[in-house]
Amino acid sequence: MELKKIIKSRELTVGLVMIGLIVFFSLSSERFLTTNNIKNILLQVSSIGVASIGMTMIIITGGIDVSAGSILGIVAVTLGKAATNGFPAWLSIILGILVGLALGSVNASFIALLGIPPIIVTLGMMSLLRSLAYTFLGGRWIASLPGAVRWMGLGKILNVPVPIWLTIILVAYFSYFMRYRPLGRYIYAVGNSLEAARVSGVDTKRILFFVYALAGLMYGIAGAIVVGRAGIVQTNTGNNFELQVIAATVLGGTSILGGKGTIVGSILGSLLVAVLSNGLILLNVPALTEGLIIGVLILGSVAIDVIKNRGEE
């Protein structure tokens, strides 16, 4: 039974396509499968991966969050401003992450408590927060961040970069959470049928609130990683970030209509894109054709998945 499920899953398809790509890239370039390069790819995935934990839950509930990038932007601004205004590094980081949580909770209040559709709330927040980030920065970028503030991006534990640790730990915990904690299950329940969940005695407002607030927290962590890695806070940090996160999530098998999906799938989705864009540079494929190849491969791997499960419904 379980085996049948795994074989049918999008996760497996995406995983297999990725393995295929990895084999192909390693055969074409001996520099691909090196510790260094694997680290590069994982680092590249980390911020998107952490954010996709929150996004996956949101999309499973049948919602969407296009304000992820803007929240990340405000997190970066807060962190940068705090650090350059004499706050200790650890406090700046925590402050940044808490701002993420707070903004997630604002989304959550509008959506869960007032019942405004998520697309409207998050589109609105996206626009509004962009303007705020710009205003807080006074249009000026923050460079030369003190080294300690960049710990979330540059730090290492046991010689493994902190962002990679964070990604692995968070993904592992929340995968467990989604399967074994009642709250995790309620998230699926809400996405399958809000009415059924309500009638089964699930406090649906609480679940929705939790999901959007938690996503904010994840964007906060992702923001601290991005600032740490880039070392610069731009007025438009996080631009287009939401699209990458949504893409990874949906590519990994989470249904945009809600009700199904896994966090592992989303990580695989973001890895697939990262492996591709890294591999194409290693093969020195002309830059302008990159989009063409990425687009065709994404479409192709999902088409395989759809055809594989033909005749199911």
């Binding site: 296009v66 509008f110 007032l114 405004i116 303007s131 945009i256 302008l288 687009g295 994404i298 479409l299």
Partner: protein, 328 residues
């Protein structure tokens, strides 16, 4: 009377936006002397045209439901524009033929999207995200000049410019001759015809529609193709207006078009929405941007204001409908 008015505002999105628009006009007219001049009002209309066409496309596509959305619509615009530009400007093809081929390119892009969405049944978000990459990449590739860099094309024959630059009594040609007739036509199709019924049915529930002998696949396919053509047409108008074809012409327009459709009352879950609502949203946003710019407010706060309006109008709507829609 007042109650009836407020109730209409609660249930009818277009009316709500209309009232909002009037309010905005009054406020802007008071604080900005140039705003309510006939010249300005007519002049600003042209800035709603291209994004408006894209928003109409998104409206139809989102109504088709099942996560219907087109993230590639801006990229189709870029690619169509480049086709027109390269054919007419670099290869010397007759401008009329180049324009037609450009619009057809848009339609073909829509065919590709529609094929994957309706016949292979791949989620629209994934299809159009992928084709967004592909069309962008193609636009860049055909824009490459002899130095290997993608470069804009701008040597169009002079006659080409009437589409996007001509005005009659200050009314831009593209508004009166293309946009308004098209809006009327789409409104007619969506609200009065059998195709409109099929579209709404499909968007409400694909399964029920299938069981009701609605040609679900054909309907979905068709909206993506219409979307492609509209983007192609927008490309034509835009290249003519700015006298330049660029491979990044449509960048960032997807989300704007979706935002307008949503502001206009299109339900992102499908099955609900109107051309009239979207049209009102276009007018509101165009006037808003114009007013804010004339008021000298930094462009950064234009988007911010849009965000406030989006959430604010949703809250207003909830309050209004709580109060007024249930009482008979």
């Amino acid at each position: 009377m007042m109650k009836k008015f407020l109730k209409l505002m609660a249930v009818n999105r277009s009316f709500f936006l209309f009232v909002f628009l009037i309010g905005m006009f009054v406020v802007f007219s008071f604080i900005i002397p140039e705003f309510s001049t006939i010249y300005n009002v007519l002049n600003m209309t042209k800035y709603g045209v291209e994004i408006g066409l894209l928003a109409f496309a998104e409206t139809l596509i989102i109504i088709s439901g099942g996560g219907g959305i087109d993230l590639s619509i801006g990229s189709i615009l870029s690619l169509s524009a480049m086709v027109i530009g390269v054919l007419a400007g670099r290869l010397g093809v007759n401008i009329v033929i180049a324009s037609i081929l450009g619009i057809i390119t848009g339609g073909l892009c829509g065919v590709v999207n529609g094929f994957f969405v309706s016949f292979l049944r791949i989620p629209p978000l994934i299809v159009t995200l992928s084709t967004m990459y592909v069309y962008d990449s193609l636009a860049l590739l055909i824009a490459v000049d002899k130095w290997g860099n993608p470069m804009p094309v701008s040597n169009f024959p002079y006659g080409y410019y009437f589409i996007g630059q001509q005005t009659y009594f200050n009314i831009p040609f593209q508004v009166i001759a293309i946009f308004i007739p098209l809006a009327l036509m789409l409104h007619f199709v969506l609200s009065k015809t059998t195709f409109g019924r099929y579209l709404v049915a499909t968007g409400n529930s694909e399964v029920v529609a299938r069981f009701s002998s609605v040609p679900v696949r054909r309907v979905k396919f068709t909206v993506y193709v219409i979307g492609g053509f509209l983007a192609g047409l927008a490309a034509l108008i835009m290249t003519s207006r700015i006298a330049s074809a660029r491979p990044d012409l449509g960048a960032g327009l997807n989300l704007q078009a979706i935002t307008i459709a949503v502001l206009g009352g299109t339900n992102i879950m499908g099955g609900e929405g109107s051309i009239l609502g979207t049209l009102m949203a276009i007018v509101v946003i165009t006037a808003l941007y114009n007013g804010l710019q004339l008021a000298g407010i930094s462009s950064i706060w234009q988007v911010g204001t849009l965000g406030i309006i989006l959430i604010g109008s949703a809250i207003a709507n909830i309050i209004l409908s709580k109060k007024f829609s249930s009482v008979e």
